[in-house]
Every structure is written in structure tokens, then in C-alpha cells.
Symmetry: C2
Subunit: 372 residues, 2 copies
């Protein structure tokens, strides 16, 4: 391998490929990144055996070749290098990196030891605007399970029907759903698959760095590829069926309060200070003089009642929630001017819907309380 490329491009390529590190760090090659010099381009691949990210940058290739080198070392080194042009030269597994002010040698491991990255060919595909996908991921990932005791919950479900693609996540305590509508989806067969949470996070991370464009998603039964300009993310899919969640989304409500997300969240956080030793259980009372009263009681530390102004429709009502789940839901809606909080009796789930986005909802399961 012998090539020269622009530091800025190389740095971006390394940032995009990220630092996926293998779970089995006993295998040294999994701490490495694969670099391949091909016809007119340099391909950088990072993998943890579940996800792989490939980024492709333009380079002047003088001699093809490939090697793996420690991922963090290479990316930190290139990020700190302030020279314009960087040259690679590979000899017997030693990568020489030369720039105007710097000369480095990095000991590599042969490319043949790097895990094979699967290719998804002849598969169904769907094209989505990158902004739509990024926004939908950011709004639903918050509801996914973090541990994978139930693997189907530790992911984001992509469910396509007719002209609508729904992204859904739930950890069984709360659920977030965002619909993306596009007439072009009509041409594609309906599908459902579950993308692991970690993969979804990597897709969101990459999309947040890239300029806006289109994302092409290709998938088969076990694998998925997200293809963007200069980057591809390949991942396994989660095996198993996503729960039939539609029936838990309330169709209507007895009581609706219209609130400012920032204020609502601040009040919940304030009252939750008194609920930290009682499983973050806060009670919401709707309809007291056109106000929402939020309260919590701790036998040990004390109690708090705080009122919040809001337009309230429907009958008086009260319900208890885990404050953290409301705070999480409102955090992704911080940019919205107003949200509606809807509920029907203390044993049914509550729903947060932004006023200006009818395609998003966040459902929260109520807590049982001993109090009347």
C-alpha cells in the first residue's frame, strides 16, 4: 500500500467509521481498524462483530494493499495531525505515516485476520431522507430497553405498511412511535424488522455528522445495511417478533392538558427530588382550577406539591408515573412549543403528543399507587 490523502478527509473518514471495539477484546485484531487502498479510494472499516461501519474517502493510490492498525491510535493521531497531506506506506505490516512535520510507524496486523464483513446483495431496499431518519431515531431510541434481557425490546422496530414507515421502541414501561410518510414507499413490499439499539445509535451518530441526503436501506432476513454518501453501516437484525403494541396506544382520552415541554419537565424534575426514594413515583392531578398539580411524598425526606399552568380539557383526573419516563419523553420534545398530555383514568397509559407533529407519540404506563 502506498497512497497520499488530505488530512481533513482522512480525519472525517476515521470519525465516521468510529471506534467500534470488539466484545471479545481477547482477539487483538478487533481493536484495530481495517484500511484498504483500492482503485482511487481508501476504505476504512471498523467492526465489533455485530456492527460494521465502512467509510470511503478519495485518495491518490500509488499502490494497492490493506492492513489493520489500532483504531484509537490511528484516529487520535490523524485528528491531532495539523499537516494538510498525509502519506501511507506499508512494508511488512509496518504502516509508515508521513506528513510535513511528522513521521510515524505503526505496527499492524494482517488484513486477512480481520473479520469478514457480510455483503447484502439482491435484497429489498427503501430510500429515506436522512433528516427524517435521524429525527425519527432520536425521538424513539429513548424508549428502547438498554439491557438485552428481552432482545426484541433492545432495538428499534422498523415497520413499513403502504406509504408509511413506523419506527417504534419500547422497554414495556414506555413506548415511542414516529411515522415517516412517503408516496415512494408504496412501490415497496411491506416489511418489519428490528434494528439493535447500538446500531440505531451508530446510524444516528453518522447521520448527525453527514450532510443531508438520502439513506438507502437494504436488508435480508438477518442483516441490514444503511448506505449513505461515503459511509455504509452493516448490522445483524434482532431475531424474534416485536410485541403487538398497537392496542396499548389509547385511541381517545378523558382529560387533555396542553403544556410547554420545558416547563413541564422542570416541574417534574423538581417534584421528583421528593420521589427518589419511592421509585420516582410522582402523581399528576389535572383540573384543579385549570392547573396541573404534580406531587410526590417520601416518608423519609418530605413532600412537595407544585402547580403548572396549562389549558385543560375534559374531566378532573389523577394518575401516577415514574418521573424518569416523563422526563425522557419530554427531553426529545424540548424543541416543541406545546405538547398535549392525554389520559383516561389512573389505570390506563398516558400519552404525550406534540401539537405540531401528529406523527409522533410517547406512551407511558401508569404506576399503581396505594393512595386514593
Amino acid at each position: 500500500m502506498k497512497l497520499s490523502c488530505i488530512q481533513e478527509k482522512l480525519n472525517k473518514g476515521l470519525t465516521l467509521a468510529g471506534r467500534l471495539v470488539g466484545l471479545k477484546a481477547t482477539l487483538p485484531v478487533l481493536n484495530n481498524i481495517l484500511i484498504e487502498a483500492k482503485e482511487g479510494k481508501l476504505i476504512i472499516t471498523s467492526t465489533n462483530l455485530e456492527i460494521a461501519i465502512k467509510s470511503i474517502i478519495g485518495a491518490k493510490i500509488l499502490k494497492k494493499g490493506s492492513i489493520t492498525v489500532p483504531s484509537r491510535l490511528l484516529s487520535d493521531f490523524v485528528a491531532k495531525n495539523q499537516d494538510k497531506k498525509i502519506k501511507f506506506n506499508l512494508k511488512e505490516n509496518i504502516l509508515t505515516i508521513k506528513s510535513r512535520h511528522s513521521l510515524a510507524h505503526i505496527r499492524g496486523i494482517e488484513a486477512s485476520e480481520f473479520p469478514l464483513i457480510p455483503k447484502i446483495k439482491e435484497a429489498p431496499k427503501i430510500s429515506i431522507k436522512s433528516g427524517d431518519l435521524l429525527s425519527a431515531l432520536n425521538k424513539v431510541m429513548v424508549a428502547a430497553a438498554i439491557d438485552d434481557n428481552r432482545p426484541v425490546l433492545a432495538g428499534v422496530c422498523f415497520k413499513k405498511k403502504d406509504n408509511e414507515l413506523k419506527l417504534v421502541a419500547t422497554d414495556s414501561y414506555r413506548l415511542a412511535e414516529k411515522k415517516i410518510k412517503d408516496e415512494s414507499f408504496l412501490k415497496i413490499d411491506d416489511f418489519t424488522f428490528i434494528v439493535p439499539l447500538k446500531t440505531s445509535q451508530e446510524v444516528a451518530r453518522v447521520l448527525s455528522i453527514l450532510d443531508p441526503g438520502m439513506v438507502l436501506i437494504k436488508f435480508n432476513e438477518n442483516q441490514i445495511a444503511f448506505q449513505m454518501v461515503g459511509v455504509e453501516i452493516i448490522s445483524r437484525l434482532v431475531e424474534g417478533e416485536f410485541p403487538e403494541y398497537e392496542q396499548i396506544i389509547p385511541k381517545d382520552y378523558e382529560t387533555r392538558a396542553e403544556l410547554t415541554p420545558r416547563q413541564f419537565s422542570n416541574t417534574i424534575k423538581m417534584v421528583n427530588l421528593f420521589a427518589e426514594d419511592s421509585a420516582n413515583s410522582v402523581q399528576l392531578n389535572f383540573g384543579q382550577k385549570g392547573q396541573v398539580r404534580v406531587e410526590a411524598t417520601s416518608n423519609q425526606i418530605g413532600d412537595n406539591k407544585t402547580t403548572l399552568k396549562g389549558k385543560i380539557q375534559g374531566k378532573n383526573n389523577k394518575i401516577a408515573f415514574n418521573a424518569k419516563f416523563i422526563i425522557d419523553g419530554l427531553a426529545v420534545l424540548a424543541g416543541e412549543e406545546k405538547v398535549g398530555f392525554e389520559m383516561t383514568g389512573q389505570f390506563n397509559p398516558g400519552v404525550i403528543r406534540p401539537n405540531k407533529d401528529k406523527d409522533y407519540l410517547y406512551v407511558i404506563m401508569p404506576l399503581k399507587t396505594d393512595k386514593e
Copy 2:
């Protein structure tokens, strides 16, 4: 206790008093903050038995009294409360906190259980501009020992002689000294004492929040008080003698390089990527074509040589350092345009001096290397 005060003032008072939490968290009152309503003022005290911080705010006192309540709970609650006025009312160790939108009760512990905070009376005192003290602390604390295996090193030495107050810290690998000169110091007897690092950090934290003013320092053999407008920090002093460090500060040099701190630091960080498995040992070579060459070699990962432009005076020279110590020293000088790096042979300490501040220096001990 019955009083009313402005939320903004109360929040600032709580922020200044901080959240010192007792080391012996088995004693519940050490998680609490002491609030005392006295004639026209509210005094808030936080302590961990080694340091105490008192902040004093104006309040409308309707009935005097005192109580301790959980520190984090009260400060978080007041910080999140968006009402203008806050009222306290104490009945049988329950503190009622009332504001326009909120009503809380917090279970307290009697003030009599709170540790006594020592008072320093009839003691020598010195007055320093708050900006000078803050800047000096920030520039020397970086060199103090973090663990207190040798307690005298886990602190900042204040050494006053004639019109000069020196602040010095060293962990025996590097040393930082900053002089503050003031003719008013001439009137005061000379002194030396060591302020624990944690106390120094709290003083710097408080000074960074307060408006500029004067700091009055009072001390006796064991204790010190830093008095600022509305805040007082009381602490034990470190027992023992600070090392006689003056003789290790080189008086002159064989070689001096004039460098930009940001560039110098960036180069050291870049080269240090190759020294992480060899105790961060990087070598500096001065005088190769008017350049500083920084290099590191790791048997495992590889090596790097990077050059840095600088004005070099004196003879060619080379020396090895722990990169982290150079990076720390340059971090506090990031605002300086140019610094001088001075050295005399590979077995003597190096010195960093900012061009525009003759009263500051940062000394680093060299590392022994096997290489010639």
C-alpha cells in the same frame, strides 16, 4: 424560623455554600446543610469536617431559628424553583418551603447536631485581590499531589516574605510557583502555611462565581479562613513542612525554545499516543535546524517523530519527560501567546515560563532514558 427571601439570592447562597459532604457519611447530619435565620440575614453552612463554607444572604426574618436539611435536596429544589420569592417556616424539625406555585415539606435534623465550625479570632490577616488569588490558584493547583500519601504535597503552600506572596505546589514530579506582589504585604509579618488541595479548589470555585473584590485571609497555627463578600471558607491547614524547593528551580539554562502553548501541547499529545505503554515518556530534541523534535517509541505499537517550529537559543540538547506533566503545565497557560521552555542537560529539570508573566514558572523533572 420564619422568613422570606428572593429565589435568585437563595440559589446563589446555596451554590456558594456548595455540597461538601462529610467523609463519615454514616453520620446523617453530614449530608445536611445548616440554615440559620439571624437578624436580617440567612446563613447557610456546608461542611465535611475538614472544610466549612458559610454563605450569607439578605432575607426578611420574621422569626429567628435554625435547622439542617439534606444539602442536595434543598439546593436542587431551589435551583429548579422558578418562583420569585421563597418562604421558609420551621415547625418541629419540618421545614415548610412555600412559593407561588409550590409547597414542600422537608424533614430536618436539629441544628445542635451539626458540627461546630471553628472561629478564627485575633489572628494575622492578609488582603489579596480576588482575581490575583484565583489566577494564582488555577496556575499552581495543577502541580499538587492528588493522593495524600505525603500530606504536605497534597496542598498549596502560601509563603509570604516582604512584599511577595508565593503560591507553590508540587507532587515531586513537577512544581508550579506563582508570585503575587503587593506593597501592602510589607506591613504584615512573614508566614508560611499549606492549604489542603480540596480547600484550594473550593476557594477557586467560589472565587470564579463571585464578582471581583478583595479576599481577607485570617489564619492561626491550625486553621485558615478565606473571607469574601457574602462567603467565608474555613479549613484546617496541612501539618508539616513544605519541602525546601527553591534550590531545584534552575537559575539559568543552556537551551531555550520559544513556543506557542497550544501548538506545543498538541504536538506532545500527538506523540504521546505512541508513549502510552512506556510511562508517557517523550523525548524533546532542541536545535535541529531551529526546530524542536518530539519523539516517542513503543516496542508494541510503533514510533513517532514530530517537529515543532520555535525560536531556539543556546546549544543543541535533548531531554525526556512524562508527557502528561508537560500537557498539564501547558493547559493552565493556554491563554498565553508564547512560553519559553528552558533546559540544561538531560538530567536537570526543565522549566516553562510564560513570556509575559515573569512571576510564574512550572518546573518538570526529567525521566531517565536508556537511549543515548
